[in-house]
């Protein structure tokens, strides 16, 4: 079924509006039981030629049909604006953020999102509301997860039917190794393999130019370059006396890869928290020293993927 749906719908380009052709609906187990009950009622009503029992049967059958329509309408027209899976550390609860908008004046309660067969997370959308549904995932092992398919479903109003849609949007969930280990951070000794320090001691080191980020001081902006119609760049200096640390995978004393990765993650988190510059050396690759959230993410993501291939999800 999933393969057929994937072939039928193709990849989704966000934002996605939930149209009729991508909504599916089937009775839930409760709905099947309800159908069986109505059928039994029909047999009893016909057998006893009892008008009231037959009317009740027909009323409940029509009720189920209306419920089906309402269940379908609960998802119809909904807009999915974005999907995001923030990176998390291993053994911590992960989540997928689904930004949903209800473009109509129709309240849409009990919208659920789920991966595979995992538990649904639900939100209620009021009229014209735009909110983010946080799909809680269980704690995961380190790695890169490729989420190929997300299910958006709802059984509102009566739980007799489940309407759902599949969202096929490439989504990567990076799970960093959980920081652990108590080895001291390597100090200046790690300096040699790094880039050459420029400038003398006592003066801020000139490091280079990097793109402007919110919060950068205007004084550091390279206005001359900007006047030459270059993008907004910031001159970066290394404060005098601050450490430059290089974390080397191969120099760690432990044998176990996971333990080494955990120690590296620990150091990265700590170094970032202390505002230090740090680089990462892994077998076959290295990341130049830098700092800031992007750098931290780059380093941790590299650790997350170390020695493994992306895990497709659902498998």
């Amino acid at each position: 079924m999933a393969v057929w749906v994937r072939a039928r719908q193709g990849e989704d380009a966000l934002p996605v509006r939930l149209e009729r052709r991508r909504l599916y609906i089937l009775p839930t187990r409760g709905g099947v039981a309800f159908g069986a009950l109505v059928f039994a009622m029909l047999i009893a009503g016909l057998n006893y030629a009892n008008s009231l029992a037959l009317f009740l049967t027909f009323l409940l059958a029509a009720f189920a049909l209306v419920a089906m329509q309402l269940c379908h309408r609960n998802l119809l027209g909904l807009t999915v604006h974005s999907l995001a899976a923030p990176a998390v550390f291993a053994q911590r609860p992960a989540s997928v953020m689904v930004s949903l908008e209800n473009p109509q004046a129709l309240p849409r309660p009990q919208l659920g999102a789920a991966l595979d067969t995992l538990t649904e997370s639900r939100i209620d959308l009021t009229a014209h509301e735009r909110r983010t549904l946080v799909l809680a995932l269980p704690p995961l092992a380190r790695g890169l997860y490729r989420i190929g398919r997300l299910r958006l479903a709802g059984t509102h109003p009566f739980g007799l039917f489940r309407a759902w849609t599949w969202l096929h949007h490439p989504l990567e969930l990076i799970v960093y190794p959980a920081p652990a280990g108590s080895l001291p951070m390597p100090g200046a000794s790690g300096r040699q393999p790094g880039p050459h320090p420029r400038g003398g001691a006592g003066v801020d080191e000139w490091l280079g130019l990097r793109p402007f980020r919110d919060g950068d001081s205007p004084r550091q902006v390279d206005w001359k370059a900007y006047a030459r119609e270059a993008p907004l760049l910031v001159k970066e200096y290394q404060p005098a006396g601050s450490d430059l640390r290089l974390f080397d995978f191969s120099q760690l004393p432990m044998k176990d890869t996971e333990a080494r990765l955990a120690q590296l993650a620990r150091w990265i988190v700590d170094a970032e928290a202390q505002g230090e510059r740090y680089g990462l050396m892994l077998p076959g690759e290295q990341i130049a020293p830098d700092r800031g959230p992007e750098h931290r993410h780059r380093c941790l993501a590299r650790l997350a993927q170390f020695g493994g291939t992306p895990v497709p999800w659902p498998r």
């Binding site: 409760g30 009317f55 009740l56 027909f58 059958a61 009720f63 209306v66 109003p157 739980g159």
Partner: protein, 665 residues
């Protein structure tokens, strides 16, 4: 957080799903309060209370072993009480108890759904049990409650009012389709399986009669059947509705006889024939009723016996209606068979000796059969006999005691005594039970015959004339023929029923209600395959059959689906503005007269600026009002009712001169 706040503000806190399931099930229990034994209802109430308290306070709930034992015990009790688990009452009681036990182990959503399903089943059982119009609102309420419970279980955050509203709207949308299905879904003639519901006879005449038996019936004011005449209505004295005919008498009790081998004597019609339609209420007995004397059987499933009873092959468990033809005055053409004569002159030896003696004397004095028939009537008329619903109980020689000791009795007593006196003189006679008269309903144009119209009379064989109907009650209480039992014996009914009939206005109301009931019974309860074909032919289909019904059914379904698709495309209307918004809109309308109208993108503060730019003299009051509105509408506290009202007053009081006053120098 916001959702919680808004819910508590509207005062509709969501009930827990368990409470909803209990309500749906409890509603089903209430529908059966009259049918199931009281201890079963009480057990259900106790179990519901226990479970709800347990959910609230964390009381102890029994484990699987105790629950199993309880279930077994309850099944045994039901079996002991009803001797079956198959009948409607027994089955309902068992369902009730098992669902109540299920309540004790209700933990998941699935269990709650099972309980709601039990609520639906109980509702179905109630529909099967009783189809009166007066009960349909209860059924509708229970259906609504169960559907709302479904919604509340599926969406636990739903408030009570929201759940009821959702279920109500859905049912309202479903109702048109339900009606179309009801009209056009092909009904099946006949049934799939036999009837396990005839637990006990509901009411009505039985196939035995002891003196005094009919007296119990007379206190029952329920309708037995309704009659619509094709021609003019026969007079009240001719309205003898023939029921069970009793031949065997043991001195105390009259019984029906086995007579399937006997030939029915032919009769000649000596008067006008009467055609009419009878709508019979269920009695769970085999008798159908017709005006004395039915000319033919109204249905292939009903036999017209040798003594002109209508006996159905199945007991009447559903309301039935039939066309009947009767000859009110007849002459028997064939002679009485020897077996028939022997049967109808038999008296048990040694019983009622004084009665036999009396018969001998009276017959000797009369000298002939016809004269003796009149002489006995005269004896009863002159003998100081009284008519009473509560006569003294009679002993073994019941007729002797009646004639010579108590001298009070009821139609059953006198019919019995009269037939005995005839037999004692060798004249074939038997007792016929049935109904006499009925109440004419001018609104519905039908005659309603109640259980309280039950009656018994005698038939005697006179050579040359055949069977002749003799009603001894008529000579003792002649009013009985013209008036209802109520006028005759006011003590037979409760005070409220007397009141109902004493007041013309109330009895008019009652007749109206009965006319509505009759319509309900004819057009809804008795709606069957034939009625469906009738409907089709009235819709213009010539010689309709099941195929046409199928087409109509499909068309109706498509029509409704189109309606639903249209309905789905519509969006709910925006909520009407509240008091605060109305006041603000009024302010904007008033300001638009003296300044540019508010642009759709402008908020209150911005608009105040626009107005001030146009009319600097009004800057202060307008700005104050606009700021007040913004504060009330968007402020953290929100606007109370009183604040909104005060704001509305302030808007109305705002003075807006057409022209700016000339600038003071």
């Amino acid at each position: 957080m916001a959702a919680v706040k808004s819910r508590s503000a509207s005062g509709a806190l969501p009930l827990p799903p368990l409470a909803w399931a209990c309500a749906a099930f409890g509603g089903g229990v209430l529908l059966h309060l009259e049918r199931v034994p009281p201890w079963a209802s009480l057990a259900c109430a106790a179990l519901i209370a226990w479970r709800l308290r347990a959910a609230q306070r964390g009381l102890w709930l029994p484990g699987a072993l105790i629950r199993t034992l309880l279930a077994l015990a309850m099944a045994v009790v039901v079996l002991a009480r009803f001797h079956t688990l198959n009948g409607l009452t027994a089955g309902t009681t068992l369902l009730l108890l098992m669902a109540a036990l299920k309540l004790l182990e209700t933990r998941t959503t699935r269990d709650e759904l099972v309980l709601i399903g039990a609520g639906f089943c109980l509702l179905l059982a109630a529909c099967l049990d009783r189809e009166e119009l007066a009960r349909t609102p209860l059924y509708a309420l229970e259906a609504w409650l169960c559907c709302a419970a479904l919604a509340a279980v599926a969406t636990p955050t739903l408030g009570v009012r929201a759940a009821l509203g959702l279920a109500g709207r859905t049912l309202a949308l479903a109702a048109p389709l339900a009606l179309l299905l009801f009209l056009f879904f092909p009904r099946l003639p006949g049934s799939f399986w036999a009837i396990p519901r005839g637990d006990t006879a509901l009411t009505g005449l039985s196939d035995t009669m002891s003196p005094g038996k009919i007296a119990q019936l007379v206190a029952d004011y329920e309708p037995a059947f309704r009659v619509q005449f094709d021609g003019p209505r026969p007079s009240g004295e001719a309205l003898y509705w023939r029921g069970p005919v009793l031949h065997e008498f043991d001195g105390e009790t009259w019984r029906r006889a086995e007579g399937s081998y006997k030939l029915r004597a032919r009769v000649a019609n000596t008067g006008a024939e009467v055609r009419y339609r009878v709508a019979l209420e269920p009695t769970r007995r085999h008798y159908w009723f017709a005006l004395d004397l039915p000319a033919q059987s109204p249905s292939p499933r009903v036999a017209l016996t040798y003594d002109y009873q209508l006996i159905a092959s199945e007991p009447v468990t559903e309301p039935v209606s039939y066309e009947a033809l009767s000859y009110p005055s007849t002459r028997t053409l064939d002679p009485l068979s020897t077996a028939g004569r022997r049967e109808d002159t038999h008296l048990p030896a040694g019983t009622n000796p004084r009665t036999r003696q009396l018969a001998k004397e009276l017959y000797a004095r009369a000298g002939g059969d016809a004269a003796y028939v009149s002489a006995v009537l005269g004896y009863l008329r002159e003998g100081g006999f009284a008519y009473s619903l509560e006569p003294e109980p009679l002993g073994h020689d019941s007729i002797d005691e009646l004639l010579f000791r108590t001298r009070t009795g009821f139609c059953g007593h006198y019919a019995s005594a009269y037939a005995t006196l005839m037999r004692a003189a060798g004249i074939p006679a038997h007792v016929v039970t049935g109904y006499l008269g009925g109440e004419w309903n001018p609104i519905g144009g039908f005659l309603i015959v109640r259980q309280s119209d039950a009656h018994a009379w005698a038939e005697v064989w006179l050579e040359g004339r055949g069977w002749v109907r003799v009603d001894p009650t008529a000579v003792i209480a002649p009013e009985r023929l013209r008036r209802g039992i109520l006028d005759l014996l006011p003590g037979a009914f409760s005070a409220s029923e007397r009141l109902l009939h004493g007041s013309a206005w109330l009895s008019g109301l009652l007749q109206r209600w009965e006319a509505v009931n009759a319509w309900w019974s004819d057009h809804v309860v008795r709606f069957d395959y034939g009625s469906q074909l009738d409907l089709l032919s009235r819709l213009g289909v010539r010689s309709p059959d099941a195929r046409h019904l199928g087409w109509a059914f499909t068309a109706a379904l498509l029509l409704w689906l189109a309606f639903m698709a249209w309905q789905a495309g519509r969006l709910p209307r925006p909520r009407p503005p509240d008091m605060l918004a109305r006041a603000y809109l009024l302010l904007c309308r008033r300001l638009a007269r003296i300044a540019p109208p508010r642009a759709p993108y402008q908020g209150p503060l911005e608009y105040a600026e626009t107005v001030a730019a146009h009319r600097p003299d009004l800057r202060a009051p307008v700005a104050a009002l606009c700021e007040r509105y913004a504060q009330l509408r968007y402020g953290p506290a929100g606007a109370s009712r009183a604040q909104a009202a005060a704001f509305a007053r302030a808007v109305r009081r705002l003075h807006l001169p057409r022209r700016a006053p000339p600038r003071a120098a």
